[in-house]
């Protein structure tokens, strides 16, 4: 894992792609593959390019399991698993990856821990061998651990001037107050140095277990070849013991406005509300409602009002985020400090409008046709497809979930939208967080220090 620090902004806007071959009735032709030792994977075969992507997730093995004392532990684990494994030192391992143009990386989510592999077919065996080593026998040697620690410390110090990063720190602390989600999954300047190789070993042994594993694979590989590789990579993982259960929470501090004063020309604003779980019967309605309100970018109501009509912002978006223990809807934007109050008033007015007046037939039809039509565009590269396959399993979705998507979206009615808007968009439930020097707001709570940084 090489962490690159630089302040030259790199703007990459694009999504790659892939998809359907033989079976034209299905969005993706997903096969369930079960190896001899019982490892299960969802596979989409695609032999049009010599590329294979693998995404694997250990459910419930995320940063939620960290203590405040050692926040950042799982991030550090994700940085060090590819820094030496088995007989290979960190540099030998990285050289083997580089020399074979293999991308292997790990990532620490709040709920889950994941790994991603992308390789050319001709290096398939080497790629799976290195993945096996990293997953089963990471070394956590002193040198790479210290190096990754320093890189993370530098990352935090570099981010401390970034208003969006500051806003994210406040967001976690305020919205998830009292819950493990409130911690900084990237660690703090004081917590990271406390994390030892034994801590990493202990977490690795306890949480990266076979009972938590889901696997998605796409590309130039057959089911039979995959079965052998699945056993090879994951077949030796142990079954896990039960771990701590966590409580569900609602977003905290409803009705409050928090301001972290910073001398910048814009106010960075977020408005958060409680939403529903992904298995709620209204989840698909929520998606459509969100698209109309602010999820769609250009053409969404918030973008029309705030950007197109008034020129108040470069962008305003709404979205939902669903964790195992909390579900939120969030509106994010930035505007010059003088317009902060006007912007918040617009957000409230649009919430009220979609709650009290039915959306038009055309608006609903346009939202449906976008959501259905754009589904394929989210599957245009092997790694994207592998990632979707793993997420579907992590969310306990059925294997035909994508095929049902069109029907579910088409079933949404105007009344459904209004009902769900009433359920979610209640202004007394809003928690507002602002970084900048907003003008015209009253009754705000000033935040003077940043939580979970030092």
């Amino acid at each position: 894992m090489r962490i690159i620090l630089t302040f030259f902004a790199l703007v990459i806007l694009f999504s790659p792609a892939c998809a359907r071959e033989e079976n034209k009735d299905k969005v993706l032709d997903i096969k369930k593959v079960v190896s001899e030792k019982g490892i299960e994977a969802w596979l989409v075969e695609d032999h049009s390019l010599p590329v294979i992507a693998l995404q694997f997730t250990f459910k419930g093995a995320g940063t939620i399991n960290e203590s405040a004392e050692k926040q950042g532990l799982v991030r550090l684990l994700s940085n060090t698993m590819d820094e030496g494994a088995g007989d290979l030192t960190a540099q030998q391992f990285q050289k083997a990856l580089g020399d074979h143009s293999i991308s292997l990386s790990f990532s620490a989510g709040r709920d889950d821990f994941s790994g991603s592999l992308k390789t050319l077919t001709r290096h398939k065996d080497k790629a799976f061998e290195l993945t096996k080593l990293a997953v089963n026998n990471p070394r956590f040697d002193e040198e790479p651990l210290e190096r990754m620690l320093q890189a993370n410390m530098a990352r935090i110090r570099t981010s401390m001037g970034d208003p969006d990063w500051i806003a994210a720190r406040l967001f976690n602390d305020i919205i998830y107050e009292g819950h493990p989600y409130a911690l900084n999954s990237g660690g703090t300047l004081s917590s990271l140095p406390k994390i030892t190789a034994d801590d990493l070993r202990h977490f690795h042994r306890k949480f990266l277990t076979r009972d938590r594993l889901v696997v998605g694979v796409t590309g130039d590989i057959t089911a039979d070849a995959l079965k052998i590789l699945l056993d090879d990579v994951f077949g030796s993982l142990k079954l896990g013991e039960t771990s701590a259960a966590f409580e569900d929470i609602q977003p905290q501090n409803a009705g409050q406005i928090f301001v972290y004063e910073k001398d910048i020309p814009q106010s960075i604003i977020s408005v958060t509300l409680p939403a529903m779980k992904i298995n709620d019967p209204d989840y698909d309605v929520l998606r459509v409602m969100n698209y109309i309100l602010g999820g769609g970018g250009f053409g969404s109501r918030l973008m029309e009002e705030a950007r197109e009509k008034r020129g108040l912002t470069y962008g305003i978006y709404s979205g939902t985020a669903h964790q195992n223990h909390v579900d939120i809807m969030k509106v994010s934007t930035s505007t010059k400090n003088q317009s902060a109050k006007e912007m918040i008033d617009i957000i409230k007015a649009e919430m009220t409008k979609i709650t009290s007046d039915p959306v038009s037939e055309n608006e609903l039809a346009d939202a449906k046709s976008y959501l259905i039509g754009s589904l394929l565009l989210s599957m245009t590269s092997t790694d994207k497809v592998a990632s979707i396959l793993a997420s579907l399993q992590a969310d306990d979705r059925p294997i035909d979930y994508l095929d049902e998507f069109e029907n579910k979206i088409n079933a949404v009615t105007i009344d459904d939208i209004q009902r769900v808007a009433k359920r979610v968009l209640t202004s007394k439930n809003m928690t507002t967080i602002i970084v900048g020097k907003p003008e015209g707001l009253s009754g705000v709570i000033q935040k003077d220090s940043l939580p979970n940084v030092e």
Partner: protein, 452 residues
């Protein structure tokens, strides 16, 4: 060129191309994995072509292309794309302005018709011209002014590209964006937006045979224009060292940066290819020279790198950067990096390094096709910054032609601080306030070595 792809002698994309009578070039990259396409229109005009004093106009015009034509209302373009299940956007650089949609393939004729329409029929209601100006000012605040490091980066480029439009940021200076009027923009649009100043690229589930009639029915109906003469002011030599320092309360991690001129691909193809291999050898992975030596072995830096950007209509840039380890000053880190370069200048690189670097670069070309929009992006970007389509298709073979001797030679020519190419590089220091004060203390009491 920046991307990666294929067995030896294979073309990277196997693109097909034809040119309409009005001069518009069309390129098609067939990719039949899914029934979708990405359609891009690239104009050979960007920020570099703006008249002095009107910076940011090319980018502002890009915004206005979503604000209506003689037959489409403001915002309608994107609404139609969305309704058809597609995504659209646009972007502006120094050398180009590009517009694109990704969408189900049956909608391609409609996309081409709409894109051709706004090539010549732009009509923006005055109130939208005004409100969009505010949007661009907010964009500049968000991208640049919210973080002093953004302003500092602009200042560094200004110093390097003295007397050249590359020294002006693409988004424009705040005070100039506020000034220009619709007439200025319209003149710019009328001058540069023409079929003979554009390339249309389509990647996805189509062939050139299918695309040709669609292109003739849409873009083919537009008359070519006589294009304005392009100005190319040259960057003069500079003999003094430029060191810029920013100490700011928002900076907590010291950073060293150094930028210098280098030839672009169009200016010097051979040297540009060699610089790409040098970049890969110095900075291509966690086990290449800079990271291996300075971060892993010597513990002098936390991060370090070399980046060569040779895709430019005019001159390219090499950027060196790093964050020092505790106890190492930015000056010391600069010397360490220069020592790494001197080692290449003196002893060259090994055959193994060349072989590994070339292999990684060629492999990246294999991955380049694993994307819908990626091939259209790569081809457009490189064709508007000095490459031909053949250059792009044959890039893996050309890269393989670079020798150890080439790499050694370009390191000496373009990266030797004692013998700079054209002008001395520009160095930037980002420092926390406390370190600056400590440095002052150091200077005042030079003998007080207890101050860290």
């Amino acid at each position: 060129m920046t991307f990666a792809a294929l067995p030896a002698n294979a073309k990277v994309f196997n693109a097909e191309t034809f040119t309409l009578e009005n001069g518009l070039q069309v390129i098609v990259v067939p990719n039949h994995r899914a029934p979708v396409v990405t359609h891009m229109a690239w104009y050979k005009v960007g920020a570099v072509d703006e008249p002095q004093g009107l910076s940011g106009m090319a980018h502002y015009l890009e915004h206005l292309l979503f604000k209506g034509t003689k037959t489409l209302a403001p915002g309608e373009f994107s609404r139609i794309v969305k309704r058809l299940g597609g995504n659209d956007n646009a972007f502006t650089g120094q050398d180009y302005t590009a517009y694109f949609q990704s969408i189900a393939k049956q909608h391609l004729p409609e996309m081409m018709r709409m894109e051709a329409d706004r090539m010549v029929n732009l009509q923006v209601p005055p109130e939208h011209f005004k409100s969009e100006k505010k949007v661009v000012l907010e964009e500049r605040r968000q991208r640049t002014e919210n973080d002093p490091k953004g302003l500092f980066g602009e200042q560094m480029r200004s110093a390097l590209f003295a007397n050249h439009a590359y020294g002006t940021p693409v988004i424009g200076w705040m005070h100039e964006i506020k000034e220009y009027e619709w007439d200025d923009i319209q003149k710019f649009y009328n001058s540069w937006y023409a079929p003979n100043n554009a390339i249309v690229i389509i990647s996805g589930d189509v062939t050139a045979d299918e695309v040709r009639p669609m292109a003739e029915a849409s873009y083919g109906q537009i008359e070519p224009k006589e294009l304005p003469k392009r100005l190319n002011s040259k960057v003069p030599p500079a003999i003094g060292k430029t060191l810029m320092t920013l100490s700011h309360e928002t900076i907590h991690q010291p950073v060293w940066q150094n930028i210098r001129l280098a030839p672009s691909y169009g200016q010097n193809r051979q040297d540009s290819l060699a610089l790409q291999v040098l970049e890969e050898i110095m900075s291509g992975s966690a086990t290449t020279r800079l990271y291996q030596n300075l971060v892993v072995d010597q513990k002098r830096a936390i991060s370090v790198g070399l980046s060569y950007s040779g895709s430019a209509r005019y001159t390219g840039v090499i950027t060196l950067y790093g964050s020092p380890a505790q106890g190492v000053t930015l000056e010391e880190l600069a010397a360490d990096v220069q020592a790494q370069i001197k080692a290449v200048i003196k002893d060259g690189v090994t055959q193994d390094e060349i072989k590994d670097a070339v292999q990684r670069l060629q492999d990246s070309a294999d991955y380049a096709r694993d994307s819908l929009s990626g091939p259209a992006m790569t081809i457009g970007f490189n064709m508007l910054t000095g490459s031909t389509l053949d250059d792009i298709e044959n890039w893996p073979d050309d890269i393989a032609g670079v020798t150890a001797e080439d790499v050694k030679r370009v390191a000496a020519l373009y990266l030797d601080d004692d013998n700079p190419w054209r002008r001395v590089s520009v160095t930037g220091h980002l420092l926390p306030i406390s370190e600056k004060e400590e440095m002052k203390a150091d200077n005042k009491e030079a003998k007080n070595e207890g101050v860290e």
